[in-house]
């Protein structure tokens, strides 16, 4: 399975119980999906996403701050493809 597909799979598993799935308009997670805006991520969800991705790719301690911070400031949002690119750079 490609890295991008494994990232989407992880996100689908992570969000499977969220209220977002009860909404009439189902969100299909794809490369351009934004975590905060479209999936309703909060900071604690990001923490759990990091754990889930590290488990999926069997690599603990990846420097996710590089993904979530820019010039010492937290970014407003990230897309699925941002995550894929980051994981690719770490494997």
């Amino acid at each position: 399975m490609k890295i991008s597909e494994r990232v989407v799979k992880t996100l689908n598993e992570l969000t499977q119980d969220w209220d977002i799935l009860d909404q009439s308009e189902e969100v299909f997670i794809g490369p351009e999906t934004k975590l905060m805006e479209q999936l309703g991520f909060e900071s604690i969800d990001v923490v759990q996403l990091v754990v889930a991705l590290e488990k999926e790719f069997d690599k603990k301690g990846m420097p996710f701050e590089q993904l979530f911070m820019s010039n010492g400031v937290y970014v407003d949002d990230i897309t699925v493809s941002d995550i894929t690119l980051f994981i690719e750079s770490q494997l």
Partner: protein, 532 residues
């Protein structure tokens, strides 16, 4: 099989200072039955009496230097010399959990709401981790399909089982007055939801070791200590205070009802162990540890850092406060308010290399112990502990602090910048104390009445002994002399060793017990007469 049954009843933050009056005045009759019918003692917590190290010490039988957990978050050095904070999860626990150990002996486990059990490890039984938002509870549930079963369970609101982050923020930044009673009632309902889940599990999947943590008391005591503590409660008597007191009393009364229901569920022959991760007491002031390190020349604030304008540390600022430090010019820092710890930065480690480390740390210890509050002129720190292993030049976990401090009022530090190093709180608030609660009740216990204090690491070996499982060399706790009724224990069937239960989340190398460990276990079993 005629085996023993153990019920570990965890109450986060429980203190005899509250529980004794509540059992005596009739609010908690079931707990009174345990105290009066069995034995009780103070339980010494971890050096920093905090949920993560303490609960992990309790369920591993090892101290933080062995299991590696010190705080909710741990610092990680970045390549550029700065520091990031990472949340602690079960992968950071370096010791075996008691659920894993007893599973290896074919005992069945039901474990609910213990800190940092996610990602879950493979056990023989069921587990739902504590301290997880409900949206992530499936990942903290073992086996994961149990989540669907619990979700549809009558009388259980799955959202109540999770840790609500907005709710958690309120414990730090405060609750609007009009929401306070509702907030307490929510925690009362939450306790009952966990009770319902354990009743269901015990009905459907009876266990040999059943364990639950009620975390409502800790949260309520943090915010409303002054309305409950014997020392303060009579000073707060207005109408609103009376409502808060009534809601708090109801919380403890309902908790006792939950305890009574679970005692019934576990059966008359269950061996009950009541334990808290730490005690509770007052905090009346805020000490700005990083500000002190700044004044002493060990820490430099970055240009964008601002003075703390309030006593509280808003969670939104928690993620940002590491940006308040100029890492290139900082040697020592405190990473989180709950840590009460000081760590060396990358630069600090370079400057204070092996030959000067002990000298510098000892110098800083002396400086801190004599550091006085500029207004009162009295020392702020009651204790400053250096890391003995590091002083000896031994390798330590990255998560292990260089220094642990204890404040004169027993509280936790602030990590923010401030124009004063100590500020008085508006009201006395609740904070942790090292002396928690232990009580035991059931046929496996011989001791009665008040006992000498136990260590938090003793809980695991006590449970193992009741279940006739060898303690092994790695466990640091002990079974106190004359606590157990050995005759009753030996009348029970011996456990069967099963080597198939191992960590689900580990790598294949770690996945199986090593040959040496197998041999050691076999050796222990032979010694104890369980194996030929």
């Amino acid at each position: 099989m005629n085996t023993a049954k153990v019920f570990l009843l965890g109450i986060d933050g429980a203190t005899f200072d509250l529980l004794h009056p509540l059992t005596e005045n009739g609010t908690m009759p079931n707990l009174k039955r345990i105290f009066n019918g069995g034995a009780w003692a103070e339980l010494n917590s971890t050096p920093n009496p905090l949920t993560p190290p303490a609960w992990i010490s309790m369920v591993t039988g090892t101290w933080p230097a062995t299991h590696g957990v010190y705080d909710f978050m741990h610092p990680k050095d970045n390549d550029d010399g700065s520091v990031s904070l990472r949340f602690t999860d079960s992968r950071d626990i370096l010791s075996d959990l008691i659920w894993e150990i007893v599973s290896r002996y074919s005992y069945k486990v039901n474990s609910l709401n213990f800190y940092s059990m996610s990602p879950t490890r493979k056990i023989k039984g069921n587990l739902i981790s504590g301290f997880l938002p409900w949206r992530h509870l499936r990942r903290g549930t073992y086996p994961s399909q149990l989540f669907d079963e619990i979700k549809t369970l009558q009388g259980v609101d799955i959202k109540l089982l999770g840790m609500d982050m907005s709710d958690e923020k309120k414990t730090v930044i405060g609750i609007p007055k009009e929401e306070e009673v509702g907030w307490i009632e929510q925690h009362t309902k939450r306790n009952s939801s966990w009770t319902r889940v354990l009743q269901h599990l015990e009905d459907k999947y009876p266990s040999d070791l059943s364990a639950i943590v009620y975390d409502g008391p800790d949260k309520i005591q943090h915010l409303f200590w002054r309305f409950m503590a014997p020392k303060w409660k009579d000073q707060f008597c207005d109408e609103h205070s009376q409502c808060i007191k009534a809601a708090c009393m109801k919380h403890f009364a309902m908790l006792d009802k939950d305890i009574g229901q679970l005692m019934e569920t576990m059966g008359a022959n269950a061996n009950i162990i009541v334990a808290s991760d730490h005690g509770f007491g007052d905090t009346t002031e805020v000490v700005y540890l990083n500000q002190i390190l700044n004044q002493l020349g060990y820490l430099k604030w970055s240009s964008q850092s601002q003075d703390s304008r309030s006593l509280g540390l808003a969670p939104d600022r928690l993620k940002d406060h590491m940006g308040m430090i100029d890492w290139q010019n900082t040697y020592l820092y405190c990473p989180t308010p709950s840590s009460n710890a000081i760590y060396l930065t990358k630069r600090g480690r370079r400057e204070y290399s092996n030959s000067t480390y002990a000298l510098k740390m000892t110098e800083l210890k002396e400086t801190l112990l004599t550091f006085v509050d500029p207004e009162g002129g009295k020392p702020i720190f009651s204790n400053v502990d250096l890391n003995a292993s590091r002083l000896d030049g031994q390798d330590c976990h990255e998560t292990e602090p260089d220094i642990l401090v204890r404040l004169r009022d027993g509280g936790f530090v602030s990590v923010l910048k401030s124009n004063q190093v100590v500020k008085q709180r508006r009201y006395p608030e609740g904070t942790h104390r090292p002396n928690g609660v232990f009580a035991c009740y059931g046929p496996a216990f011989k001791a009665k009445g008040r006992l000498e204090s136990l260590d938090i690491t003793d809980i695991t070996p006590i449970i193992l002994r009741i279940l006739q499982i060898p303690k092994g060399d790695k466990i640091q706790g002990n079974v106190p002399d004359a606590l157990l009724n050995e005759e009753w224990i030996s009348s029970k069937d011996h456990p069967q060793l099963s080597l198939s239960i191992t960590r689900e989340s580990s790598t294949s190398e770690e996945d199986n017990i090593s040959a040496a460990e197998k041999e050691a276990i076999m050796e222990q079993l032979k010694t104890l007469g369980y194996m030929e």
